[in-house]
């Protein structure tokens, strides 16, 4: 009996500290797991905020600013609605986003989602479409020969891209180059060829006849230089939106 008691005591004494150690390790592991889960939940929460709150806000701000110009005379607002061609370009751009997997259709619209989620996703994609249309509105010259030349270049490049193999990075790089060049052409090159609005045409004709002649020949609108700064901000904001855009809204486990 004694030997038995001793044995069990011994066993207890051996096991107890060991099981305590096991419990401690479990608790630590559990805590680490909990922390990881909490981090994951927080990350998912942030991602949700970014997708459903920041993204629509960013894209709608781009939509607002894309058609905004400032008059060269008195600096008043001029709101220019997008031309029909801008909507066509925006549609092609969306197709490119889907093809390059920047946006995965299955990850944004599926029967597994609730109607509310599908609607919310639809509204975010709609803001992306509106922002894309307004970016083209921003970068295309307003009228005349420059409008048709730049529109043709855009169409050529986008059409060509439709049949090229793209991944997300390459597409974004290509778009950066395309929009950057268009921005330079419109807000730096053409803007410098435009005679200032505050000068009378007679004075402009004497002081800078080439500028006045080009303004008249190319039918260039006389906007305030502030327009270029606002549009630079709009284009940058558009790219920030694309950077934040998740390819899917499916919850990753």
């Amino acid at each position: 009996m004694d030997t038995e008691i001793d044995k069990s005591d011994l066993a207890n004494s051996l096991v107890l500290p060991q099981s305590g150690r096991v419990n401690e390790t479990d608790a630590v592991a559990e805590r680490i797991e909990d922390a990881a889960v909490t981090d994951q939940v927080a990350a998912r929460h942030h991602a949700r905020h970014a997708t459903y709150i920041y993204l629509p806000f960013i894209f709608l701000t781009v939509t607002l600013l894309g058609g905004l110009r400032f008059s060269g005379g008195d600096g008043s607002f001029i709101f220019i609605a997008p031309a029909l061609i801008c909507l066509v370009f925006a549609l092609i751009l969306l197709i490119l986003f889907f093809r390059a997997r920047l946006i995965s259709i299955d990850g944004w619209f599926t029967e597994e989602f609730s109607t509310l989620k599908n609607l919310a996703n639809g509204s975010v994609v709609l803001t992306l479409f509106a922002a894309s249309a307004q970016i083209f509105n921003s970068l295309l010259p307003e009228r005349g020969l420059p409008f048709w030349v730049v529109a043709f270049c855009f169409f050529w490049i986008l059409w060509n891209n439709l049949f090229a193999d793209f991944d997300t990075k390459k597409l974004l790089r290509s778009l950066g180059a395309l929009f950057g060049l268009a921005f330079v052409a419109k807000y730096m090159l053409l803007a410098n060829l435009t005679a200032p609005a505050e000068r009378s045409w007679l004075r402009s004709l004497f002081e800078n006849p080439a500028q006045e002649a080009l303004t008249w020949l190319l039918d260039l609108p006389r906007f305030s230089p502030v327009t270029g700064y606002v549009q630079f901000f709009a284009v940058s904001l558009f790219f920030l939106g694309l950077f934040l855009m998740p390819s899917s809204t499916l919850n990753k486990k």
Partner: protein, 175 residues
């Protein structure tokens, strides 16, 4: 925050912000002050249309009385301005009859009438016929109490006949 609330907020942001953008591009304000005043006008118009839809539309009595006072003093342009403010949706037969009558009285002349004003009066009478075919004014000051009488007077005024050359026309009375 629950996922569904975030989805709901996203839809609200898109609808609200999108609505503001559509308004700005439709109204094309040239400054922030103009945007505010245009927004106020738009909200007032929407509110008036809302009252029409739910059937609580009413004429602004104070503005109508201002218009009536101006009408009685033969200040017809001012009267019409007040009537327009009193009945912005042009749905009140009584107000519209006064508007038509103001065009008639303004256009009436002893020697010749203003055809353009008479035609405007007829246009309003056409609209009035659709609104209330049996309308009759209870104002004793208006000699033509019904739209039919006023229409007859207007149509007579627009016609060119030999009676127009009658010198006794200068003694005729305005209705």
């Amino acid at each position: 925050m629950k996922e569904k609330y975030i989805h709901f907020i996203a839809i609200v942001i898109v609808v609200t912000y999108g609505g503001i953008i559509v308004f700005l591009y439709a109204a094309e304000p040239r400054s922030i002050e103009e945007a505010t005043s245009k927004a106020r006008t738009t909200i007032e118009t929407i509110a008036t249309k809302g009252t029409v839809v739910i059937g609580t539309y009413q004429v602004d009595a104070a503005k109508f009385n201002d218009g009536l006072a101006a009408f009685r003093q033969d200040r017809f342009v001012a009267a019409r301005d007040s009537f327009e403010l009193a009945d912005p949706e042009m749905r009140d037969p009584r107000t519209q009859y006064y508007v038509a009558y103001s065009y008639y009285r303004q256009g009436w002349g002893r020697i010749s009438n203003d055809d353009q004003l008479f035609r405007r009066s007829l246009e309003i009478l056409d609209r009035l016929k659709v609104m209330d075919p049996d309308f009759r004014s209870d104002d004793a000051d208006l000699k033509a109490a019904s739209p039919a009488e006023l229409r007859k007077e207007l149509e007579e005024g627009l016609k060119v006949t030999t009676s127009d050359l009658n010198p006794l026309r200068v003694f005729r009375e305005r209705m």
